[in-house]
Subunit: 240 residues, 6 copies
C-alpha cells in the first residue's frame, strides 16, 4: 500500500526525520512518502499556527487525494484532521489520535509529554474532542520547543525522561504519548529507560493505516466526513 505522510509545518529536516521514522515501522510492502506544504509556519505551537498549517495541509492532501491508500497527519495536535477526511475517501490518521488509541491497548491511562506550555490548551481541546479525557492522566509541557528537539537529541532525551517519570510517579500514567512529531526518533530509547510503553504517533499512525487497509475500511461518508462533489473546487485555498 502507499501512505502519504504530511508534516503540516514547513521545516524540511523535520519532514525527512518523520519519513524515516515512519519507514522504520512500515511493513515491507508499504511505501511511505513524506512531504510538507509549500507555505505556512515552520513549527506549530499556537492555535494560529495550527489553523494556517491546517489550511496548507488540506491543499497538499487535495493535490494527492487520488494517489495514496492512506494519509497520515504528522503533528501532535492533529490539525485539520476532520477536514482532511472530507477531502479524500482514503483513511486519514492523525498522529495524536493514533498514539492515544494504541496507548489504550496497553495501558489503562496515558500521559502526553509535549513541548512548551502554550500547546497545552490546544492539546486539552484535542483530547476532549477525541473522547479521550477519561484515559488521559495528564498533559505535561517541557522546556523544549519543536525546533530545538532535533538540534540536540541528547538534551531532549534527558528532559523527556525527567518529565515522563513525573507523569508516571505523580499522575498515574502507565504509558507515555509523545506530544510532538519531532520526538519520534527517541521513542524506543525512552521506552527502555522508563520501563513503560512510549508511543510516537508517527509509528502508530503508519501501523493503524496498514490495519485499516488490511481490514478493508475507508473513511465513512455518511455524516461528519461527507462533502458534496464540487465543494472541493470552491475551497479557495491560495497557491501559497
Amino acid at each position: 500500500m502507499r501512505i502519504l505522510v504530511v508534516n503540516p509545518n514547513t521545516t524540511e529536516s523535520m519532514t525527512a526525520a518523520i519519513g524515516e521514522a515512519c519507514r522504520a515501522v512500515a511493513a515491507n510492502d508499504t511505501e511511505v512518502t513524506a512531504i510538507n506544504p509549500a507555505w505556512g509556519p515552520p513549527s506549530i505551537e499556537t492555535y494560529a499556527e495550527d489553523h494556517v498549517a491546517a489550511a496548507a495541509m488540506l491543499q497538499t492532501i487535495a493535490e494527492h487525494r487520488g494517489d495514496y491508500d492512506a494519509f497520515v497527519i504528522a503533528c501532535a495536535g492533529d490539525p485539520g484532521l476532520h477536514a482532511a477526511r472530507q477531502i479524500t475517501d482514503a483513511p486519514v490518521i492523525g498522529i495524536a489520535e493514533a498514539a492515544m488509541h494504541m496507548a489504550c491497548l496497553v495501558a489503562h491511562r496515558f500521559s502526553i509529554v509535549t513541548v512548551i506550555d502554550s500547546v497545552i490548551p490546544m492539546l486539552r481541546d484535542m483530547v476532549a474532542l477525541a473522547g479521550m479525557s477519561q484515559r488521559c492522566a495528564s498533559i505535561r509541557a517541557t522546556s523544549l520547543s519543536v525546533l530545538e528537539i532535533e538540534q540536540d537529541f541528547a538534551h531532549a532525551e534527558r528532559v523527556l525522561v525527567e518529565e515522563s517519570r513525573r507523569a508516571v510517579d505523580e499522575d498515574g500514567a502507565e504509558a507515555i504519548v509523545l506530544g510532538c512529531a519531532g520526538m519520534g526518533p527517541l521513542d524506543k530509547r525512552l521506552q527502555d529507560e522508563l520501563g513503560v510503553p512510549v508511543l510516537d504517533g508517527c509509528g502508530c499512525a503508519v501501523t493503524l493505516a496498514e490495519a485499516c487497509h488490511r481490514y478493508g475500511i475507508t473513511t465513512s461518508k455518511a455524516g461528519a466526513y461527507a462533502m458534496a462533489p464540487g465543494r472541493l473546487a470552491r475551497l479557495g485555498i491560495p497557491a501559497g
Copy 2:
C-alpha cells in the same frame, strides 16, 4: 468604540447584510465596519471550509489588529476564534459563543437551529468545547443552505419557524440560537412568531463587545491566548 466585524466567507452581499444587522444593534458611539477575506470559500458548511476560512480570517484580523477596539467573527461555527485571540489584545467575540452566552441569561436551555445537516458535527464539537453541552437542548438542521437564505427570506422564515417550534415542543428549548450569520435579519420576526427569545449571534456579539469595552477587559495573555512576539510574522499565510 470601533468594532471590526469579519465575515469569514467571501460572499460580499452577506458581509453587507451582516454589517447592517450589527449597526442596527450597536450603540450610537459605536462604529461598525464589516469586511470579508479576499480569498477562501463563499460559504462555510464543512470542516474543510471552516479551516480555510479561518486561515483567511486570521490574515484579515492580523492586518487590522491595531485599528479596532474589538473584533467579531461572524460565522456560526466560530472558526479560528482561539487563534484570533492570540493575534490581537482586543476582545474577539465569536457569534456562536455570543448567542449562547446571552441565551443563558434568559433561558435554562436553548436549541441551535441551523442550515444543512453537514454542519451538525462541527457545531456539536463547538458547543462541547465552549462548555455549553449542558445548556444546549438540541442542534437542529434544516433544508436551507447558507447562500439560499438571503435569496428567499420569506421561505427561510417559514422553515425556521417550523424547526424552531419542534425544538421548543420536543426538545425543551426555551430560546433559539440562530445557527448561521445569514439568518440574523430574521431574528425579531421569528421571536414575535415563536414567543421565545431568538438570538442572532451578530447582534449579541456587538453588544458583548461593547460590554467588554465599557467594563474594561481585554483578551487575557496569560495562557491559551499568549503568542510570543515575532510569531505573527512567521505564520506564513499566503497573500491569497
Copy 3:
C-alpha cells in the same frame, strides 16, 4: 433603561458600595437603583443564609417587578436566580453567572477567588449547574469574610492578589472572577497588579443587562421560568 440591583443580604453599607460600583460602569442613559431586603442575614457564607436571603430577595423583586427593565442579583452565589426569573419578565442577571460568561469571552479558563472556605461547596454547585465546570480552573478561598472586606480594603487587596497569583500560576487560570460582591471596588486595581482580566460580577451584570435590553430579549417563559398567573400571590413569603 432602569436596573434594580438587589443585594440579597441586609448590610446597607454593602448595598451602597454595590450601587456605586454598578453606576460607575453603567451607560449614561441607564438608571441604577440598589436596594436590599428588609430581613434576612447580614452576609451570605452558608447554604442556610443563601436560602433565607433568596426568599427575602424574591419578595423584594416581586414588589418591584413592573418597575424595572432588568434586575441584578448582587451576591456571588446567585441565590434565587432561577426563581427570580419566574417572578418577572424582565431579564434577571446573577453576578456570578455574569462574570463567568464575560470571562469566557477573554479567557479560556478562569478561577473564582472568594471569601472563607465554607462557600466553596456552594460555589462548586453553582458553577456545575451553570454548565461552567469545564471553563473553571479552580475555586480558591481566602481568609476574608464578606463583612471584613470593606473594613480594610488594603488588606483585602493584598490577600486577593496573593491568592489570584496562585490561581494563575498553579491552576492555569487566565482570568479571575471575584467571588463576592464586596470585592467589586477592587477589580481594576487587582487587574493592574495581576496583568490578567479581573471580573467583578456587578459591573459585568450591569453591562449584560444593558446588552439584553439593547438587543431586545427578555426572560423566556417557555419552560423553566414559566409561572402560572396567581402563583405569585400564594408564595406566602412573610412580611419580615
Copy 4:
C-alpha cells in the same frame, strides 16, 4: 429513635398523609412526628415556591434541632437539604435523594415520574447535583398537580401507571421513583401493577434515617455542612 418529618408546604392534609405513610414503614421503636411550616406556599411546583418553602422549613428545623435523632424533608425536590444539614448535627434525609439511593440498590437505572412539567428543570438540577444523572433514565411529567393527587387517588393511580409504563418501555427504567410526596400512598399498588420496584421517598427516607441511626453516623461537620456557632441566630428568618 425519634424522626421529625417536615412537609415543606403548608397543606396540612398532605402533612397528615405523609406522616401516616412514614409510620407505616417505620420500625416499632421509631417515633415519627410530621409537621409543616406555619407559612409558605401550599404546594411546590416552581423554583420560587421551592425557595420560600426552604426558608420556612429551615425555621421549622431550627426550632426542633435538639429534639430529634433525624429529620426528613418530605418534598421531591429536596428543598433546602444542604442548608438543613448545616443547622443540625442529626442526619437530614431528603426524600428525592432517599428514593434515588434506594433505587440504585435494586435497579441499574430508574425514572422519576412526577407532577406537572414545570418541575422538570428543578428535578433535573437536583438529580445532577446529587450525582445521579447517570443512573436516571428519564424524568417524566404528568397532568397531575400536587394538590390534585389526594383529591382523586384512583385517577392519579391510572395516570401514574400509564406514564411509568412509558418510562419502563421507552426509556429503559427498571424502577420508578415517585416524584411527589403526595404520591406516596400509591407506591405498593403501583408496584403490583407495574412489576418493577416503585419507590416513595418518604418510606425510603424513614428507613435510611433508621439505618444511619443504627449504624451510628451523623452529619459531617468537616466541610459543606459546617456552620459556625452564632450564625444560626443571625439567619433572620421572619416569624411568618
Copy 5:
C-alpha cells in the same frame, strides 16, 4: 429477616470477622450468616482476583438463592454485583455501593481509603459505574495489604488515621469510606479519632438490606438484572 453475607475471598478468619461486624449492626430480628466460597483467591487486590472471586461467589449465591431475604457481597470492589442480582430476586447489596450511598446522606463528598495501590484503578472503575465520581473526593491507597490488616489492627489504625486525615485536609473529604471489608472492625475507633463519619460497607450493607426488606422492594427484573429461566443451569461454573 435472613441475610447471607458472602466474603468473596477464601480467608475464613476474615469471613468470621465480617460476620461479627455485620451482626453487631443488625437489628434484633435479623439473622446474619457469613460464608465464603470453597475456591478462589485468599484476598482480592487485582482485576484477576476480582474476576475469579466473582465467579466463585456467584456459585455460592446460586446455591443459596432461595434461602435468604437479602445478600451482601463483602468486598470493597463489589465483585460480581450485577451478576448476582441476575441470579436471585432478593436484594443484593455490595459493600462499596452501600458505604457510598450512606456517605452521601451525611456528607457532600467522601474519600475512599483503601489497601495497596494496585486496587485504585479497579475502585475508580467501580466508582464511575456506580455514578459516584462526582461525590468521591479521592481514592487513597495505603501500605496495608488485605491480609495484613487483621494481623496488626493497631498498626492498621495508625496508617488509616494518617491517610484519612490527608483525605480530609487535602482533598476536601467530609466522610471516609473504608476500602476493604477487613477494615470494618476499626470504623468507630477511626470515627472517634477523625471527627468525621467513617463508613464500613459491611455495617452499611446490613442496614440497607434491612431498609429494602422493611420498605418492601426486591431486585428489578425489568432490564439489566433479568435472566431467562434455564440460564442459571448452563452457567457452567465448576465445582471448585
Copy 6:
C-alpha cells in the same frame, strides 16, 4: 508473530468460525490459533455469563501465557480484559475495544448493533469504562441470540441491515460496530449493503495486535496491569 484468539464461551463451532475470520485478515507471517475454555457458558448474554466466562478465559490465557506474542478476547463485551492484561506481558486486545478504536479512525460516531437487549446494560458499562461514550451514537439490540446467528446467516444479515440502517438514519451513526463475535463473517456483506464502514472486532483485533507487535509495545506493568509474582499461582481457578 503468534496470536492466541480466545473465544470465552464454550461453543466450538463458534470458535472455529472466529478463527477463520481472524486468519482471513491476518498478515502472511501471522499465525492465528483459536481456542475456547473447557468450561463455562455456551454463550454470553448476561453479567453472570460474562463473569464465569471471564474466569474460565483467565485460566486459558494463564496456561498459554508464555507461548504467544499477543492475545485476543473474542467476545463483544470484552470480558476479563483488564484481568488478562495482568496475567501476561503480551498485548491483550478485546474485540469490542478493537472495533471501537478502529471505528474512530474512519467515523466521527459509531453505533453498536448487537444481539438481544439483555446485553445493552453490559455494553453501555463497557463503552463508558473504555471512555467511548462520546463517540458512541447508540447501542441497538436485535431479536438475534448469539447462538442463532450462525444457524441462519441469511436471516441474521437481513436483521442486521435493518437495525444498522436505523442507527445511521435515526442516531447519526457513521460506522457500525458488530456487537457479537458471531456476526463477524457478515462484516463485508453488510458494509457493501450499508455503504458505511462495518467493523467486526475479531478482524480489527488481529490487525491491532499486529500493529502493537510491529511497533514494539507490550502491556504496561506500571499501574492497573501490574501483578506481583506469585499472585498468579494463588488465583484458585478450578480445573473445570
